[in-house]
Amino acid sequence: MNFSDETVMAYADGELDPASRAALEAAMATDPQLARRVARQRALRARLRAALEPVLDEPLPERLLASVRGVPARGQAANVVALKRQAAPRWSWPQWGAIAASLVGGVLLGPLLLRAPAGPALVTRDGQVLASGALARALSEQLASHQPPGAPVQIGVSFRARNGDYCRTFVLREQGTLAGLACRGHEAWRLEVLAHNPAPPATAAGYRPAGSALPASVTHTLDELIAGEPLAAGAEAAARTRGWQP
């Protein structure tokens, strides 16, 4: 069987469907020439990655941190000529916080979310973003199957991650458009992702089923982490009783 260069590349990139992958792997076992072609593609990929890898460990230049920090204070980061200045940032604080947080981790979230009307929903500790206040309470106490009407936090699905931790998706209704996923560590809920949510989770009149209307980045993280199926109501209640410890 002949495999095109593009097929060999797609295999090296993990992009082949399972059937083609199996066919190629079977052929590779008896065809050293094909195995060499695959190895060549993998070697290039590994070399490029290794060459650029050290960039990840470089200290972040202060000017980049300042630009993440500086924009909402208006006009502080105006030293970049190419940027067409907008009149003013139009993100709300939580949206801005979510973007800034994903850029630099937890560094800037604390002071930002302190300004949220209901107090901080998030705090940072040792470079991690942890749930706090009403969010932490809801993650620990609220069952997806039994949510108080008008609760500020709406829990989506609860599940076991592959590493055994319990994780839950949530929507911050009060802040309108923030959704995220948190996993339970020993002492706190650690945020894995926090995203701008395009659709409000529920209207005044209606209730949406758990797990619907989450931003793609949240569902993507859920797919990456989840082991098996989401917890059913009984398993969820049992996990709460155990304090969400594995």
């Binding site: 290039l44 972040l60 630009s67 970049v80 993100w91 701008h196 980045s217």
Partner: protein, 155 residues
């Protein structure tokens, strides 16, 4: 934490450290001032990679204009005295990347270095998947040729 990955992507595009950080800074400011529109269907990281790339395309256009207006300037070479081996290979890889056409370089950087899926990379570059894979294939062949089959540095 997205910033280090954005810096790595920018470095693959622009090679020079300061140019690369300029791109990231522009992208951060565009993102936070909403100079670019957030696409709710895509992860935030894809959106940011797309903004970095667009900033790079703007920069290339601006360089084209400057090159027509001014005599070409010698680019100041940065000689790092960092550890020889790894640094030499970074330079060799960056030199090879710099010789690729921009669209091949972006495809290589997103898929081979950032490890994104074809779908995500095509989305960021705003091209169909078939276009992405053919750019990627051409970029790969050119890099294999430039970098050679061994790990020897390009000299």
């Amino acid at each position: 934490m997205l910033l280090p990955r954005l810096r790595r992507f920018a470095r693959a595009l622009a090679a020079d450290v300061n140019d690369a950080d300029d791109l990231v800074q522009i992208a951060v400011e565009r993102a936070l001032t909403r100079g670019a529109q957030l696409r709710p269907d895509a992860p935030l990281s894809s959106w940011m990679f797309g903004i970095v790339r667009n900033a790079w395309l703007d920069e290339l256009r601006a360089r084209g204009r400057r090159a027509r207006l001014f005599a070409p300037e010698e680019s100041a070479e940065q000689i790092g005295d960092a550890s020889q081996g790894a640094h030499a290979d970074l330079l060799a890889v960056q030199e090879a990347l710099a010789r690729l056409p921009e669209e091949q370089r972006a495809a290589v950087a997103l898929v081979l270095i950032e490890g994104l899926s074809y779908k995500e990379a095509a989305h960021i570059m705003e091209v169909p998947i078939g276009t992405l894979t053919s750019r990627l294939a051409r970029g790969r062949e050119a890099l294999q040729e430039m970098l050679g089959e061994t790990t020897g540095a390009l000299r």
